[in-house]
Symmetry: C2
Subunit: 291 residues, 2 copies
């Protein structure tokens, strides 16, 4: 079972990713294999689908947003590859398969991450369907969200908190950056690409913030109550690493309640868009997902 939004855009996103990161028959073919191994691995495509939907809700034709949707997914993928490296989280598995460096080695995995980040901007800057000003506004926002002031800032904070008991404030700030920033990039980026007004941007931001936090709390919960097979990864790993999570901070029940409240906030923000039904359904689906 998947949400309607993910089903609707899924095939188009897969086909575009495949086309935008082709398997090249050249001396450097190893890097293309390594990138494609992680990029085309059956991810949910949550971020690109959100970018396309917000672009549509603000008056655009979703197909025109594909280069930005795919660029954002490349950024998400690179961050997972680098996160799994031995010097970072040291994870051997990702989505039920060996992680990138376990298959291609650390050197190539490092370069594959670099290549995906770089290619993301290449692809966004190569697009021709949207006027340059809007393309630049969207790509700039995505860059801001993925960099030191966004996702990378969150990864740094995550490293710094390792082995420590984080305060609620620290944990919330870290998650808002590490997970939240790219979801914001998706929702707000779609609006900026369509040249939407400030009100739409503000609603998209509210939706992204609520969904992003609910998403992370659900992630932490699934590590405790989830099924390893459905999840495609070991459960209980947070507790084993003595990682500070929302479950360790609030307990299971309070986490469920927080997810409900955040989902209501997301539904409210989505309600301001004419035809925002799929956003509402997505928020509800994410709140109860089992993988």
């Amino acid at each position: 079972m998947s949400a309607d939004l993910l089903t609707r855009y899924g095939d188009g996103i897969e086909a575009s990713l495949d086309r935008l990161f082709p398997m090249e028959a050249c001396r450097q073919s190893a890097i293309f294999s390594a990138c494609r191994y992680s990029l085309l691995d059956g991810g949910k495509r949550l971020r690109p689908a959100l970018l396309m939907e917000f672009y549509r809700l603000c008056g655009g034709n979703p197909v025109d947003a594909l280069p930005f949707a795919c660029g954002l997914e490349m950024i998400h993928t690179y961050s997972l590859i680098h996160d799994d490296l031995p010097c970072m989280d040291d994870d051997d598995y990702r989505r039920g398969r060996l992680s990138n460096h376990k298959v291609y080695g650390e050197a190539l995995a490092t370069l594959a991450g670099d290549a995906l980040l770089n290619r993301a901007f290449e692809v966004m800057l190569e697009q021709t369907a949207v006027p340059s000003e809007r393309a630049v506004a969207c790509a700039r926002y995505i860059a801001r969200c993925s960099g030191v002031y966004g996702m990378i800032g969150g990864q740094v904070q995550d490293l710094a908190l390792e082995g420590k008991t984080a305060s609620e404030e620290e944990q919330l700030e870290m998650i808002a950056l590490k997970t939240g920033a790219l979801l914001r990039a998706a929702c707000v980026g779609g609006c900026l690409l369509a040249g939407a007004d400030e009100t739409a941007v503000a609603r998209a931001e509210q939706y992204a913030q609520a969904v992003g936090l609910a998403f992370q709390i659900r992630d932490d919960l699934l590590d405790v109550i989830g099924d390893a097979k459905t999840l495609g990864k070991q459960t209980g790993s947070d507790a084993q690493k003595e990682k500070c999570t929302f479950v360790s901070l609030y307990g299971k029940e309070a986490c469920e309640k927080k997810i409900d409240a955040l989902t209501r906030a997301a539904v409210e923000a989505a309600g301001h868009f004419t035809d925002g039904q799929a956003l509402i359904e997505l928020a509800c689906w994410l709140a109860g997902r089992d993988h």
Copy 2:
């Protein structure tokens, strides 16, 4: 002793890099330190100076090109940090100082590289002095040169050649990508930013190709005949690692001759630009540099 071109633009580039990658007093301050450690380490600033000079030669005001010049230097810097990692070249020193991961650890060094690459695009996309179309053309060209079809492709090929005897063709192709691509990005990028015509772009490409190859042959020579103190790094390391270099392929004398021929080609390409004197002087200076 430095070339006039590097002296002319050097201070402006240093001040801009310092401003565009500030030291932030925040929870993520460690990443800002790590990035600045490698970014503001007294590099030659060859690439940014070339970008600014080609922009000037094609009719632009060099100051307007600073965000692109600095973005390119950030890309160059990230590639050095990742190249030095234990899983890559495993180098403890760079320009006479400890390499990034020896000071900040592997995790933060990996993220610092990511952050510099990301910030490069952020900075280029934030610029306001040049019309969007030209900015996009320049940033797109830089992205292409630094990615899988450029520098990263060269790094992958370099990894693949490790411990093998490369053919002359393989060595030339690897260097054209690994070192050459970013020098091309500098010279051609400057022209594209100024909206120059195809002839200027072709001349810039010729200049970059000649200078890039001469630069690398000189690098290989210096590892054999250079002075460790002046160079800021151990000499003889290529031979120790049994690395295939131009010296191992051609021998010292033939290398000197090749550098002379390439420098003449660079001088000829530069001669097509009115006021290309500083480019000529730079090519000659690079041919004889001792660090």
